[in-house]
Symmetry: C2
Subunit: 278 residues, 2 copies
């Protein structure tokens, strides 16, 4: 594909992947069912491609044609050039970043496969906020977590907002879903040799800094507000807390996650110790 196709009709069926992007409920159902996700903006699109995702099509404002020239030439998919006004008619919002790509989802790996090569994993329970999911992935990537596991009721990391907030980290940190909750914390995660630490603001939990080193550590995070369920906490080996100043609400989940990732990053085996998984 070397040329962009100019499209002038918002009802053109070739733009179907991009319709009603602001209708969160609709898109949440449609995208997994149709096997696609939307990458928004030059940087995120390039990262999705670099991570190996296949492009279904791309929708560009004309002024982005030059910046995306190499992507267009390499693309094995149609590229549609539209006016900003038409992009807004189709998607339902003003596409500030001027470039959208519809990408093909890939089958998620099984959690066992992810865990086989990992030493530090995040397990999220019922995190439904797309911004929080994206922020947690971004911090997980920056702070060296190896993988993410999701409870069955977590939201979709490939939803457009999650992808954007993560700055594409949802492409680089491998993730999987646990099928049975909380049973798989034991049957899958502990069975793979992981120590399970549940993050909670409870005053009787162990200070994060006092958590003993574990060669394989799974850090459990709950949603903003309710936090981890009692069932998930009971399924863990340890409950850990971030020491907080008196009288203050807990940190937001993104900040708490970043602190916890930082704290456990240094709690693995000493450098030079041979790990059976490396």
């Amino acid at each position: 594909m070397a040329e962009a196709l100019v499209v002038g009709d918002p009802g053109d069926p070739r733009l179907a992947d991009y319709t009603a992007l602001t209708d969160v409920e609709l898109r949440r159902r449609r995208e997994p069912a149709e096997g696609l996700f939307i990458a928004e903006g030059e940087k995120v699109i390039r990262r999705a491609l670099a991570a190996g995702y296949r492009m279904r099509s791309m929708l560009l404002s004309e002024k982005w044609l030059e910046a995306m020239r190499d992507v267009i030439e390499a693309a094995d998919a149609p590229v549609y050039a539209v006016t900003p006004a038409l992009a807004e008619q189709v998607t339902g919002y003003h596409v500030h970043r001027g470039a959208l790509a519809s990408m093909q989802r890939e089958e998620l790996p099984g959690p066992e496969r992810l865990l086989a090569g990992a030493r530090r994993v995040v397990v999220m329970e019922a995190v439904n906020d797309h911004t929080n999911i994206g922020a947690i992935f971004r911090s997980a990537a920056a702070l060296g977590m190896d993988a993410v596991l999701l409870s069955p009721d977590c939201a979709d990391p490939l939803y457009r907002r999650s992808v954007k907030v993560s700055m594409g980290a949802v492409f680089s940190v491998p993730y999987a879903r646990l099928a049975r909750w909380p049973q798989d914390l034991d049957a899958v995660v502990r069975a793979a040799g992981f120590h399970l630490a549940a993050l909670t603001p409870a005053p009787d939990a162990v200070d994060l800094g006092a958590l003993p080193r574990h060669e394989r550590l799974a850090l459990l995070l709950g949603a903003e507000g309710p936090g981890l369920t009692r069932r998930a906490q009971q399924a863990a080996d340890t409950r850990v807390r971030i020491p907080m100043a008196h009288g203050v609400d807990s940190l937001n989940v993104g900040a708490a996650a970043a602190v916890a990732f930082y704290a456990v990053a240094g709690s693995g085996p000493e450098p030079g110790v041979t790990s059976p998984v490396s």
Copy 2:
């Protein structure tokens, strides 16, 4: 004041404090000039009052009258009861939280006064995003930072969005503005006995975990994206970095701030050591 006053005219001059709340540029100019700020939602309003701010007036949807009964009865200011539709006409948006209060600003303390009683302070340079400012205050409060100093070009912590994201932490963590930048880093902050540590992703900076203990530590943070200016970094005693995984963009500034606050919280004098400032 024991009764709410029902107001039915969106042009009523008594509602002037609440007009055009979605016009960020207008409100940024108006609110400091008129000496007010807006607290939104029951929890934030209660925290502003608990922190000692004086209420100018309150605007409530009728269904909030009952929940706010004690606040209304204690208020030394008029309370206006309106329909949700009228609240939207006045403010320009649908007021989900159903309660807004216009609060009187207080004069900020001088930075010297704040520093006299502090051991761990945050210094922000040119942080202009209201969400980021709020998130940093929230983490600062939770993780025990004693005070915040702002460069002259930082945005307003009392802007509605900052207040909301901070969950009211902008009321509990004292803050001040430095007048001369970056000169006051030396003339005010270092002069008060603080070691200045500049947070940067630069690979040649010292790992945060290797920062020696300092009885008084000021942590410098820049804006998302550009980070600290060279001038600010040069004015610091040390440049520190959060160790990051290879090939990953830096953390967002809120996550980086939380990690840094956590890391330096433990780097003060040992418990039991008498500090000249305590």
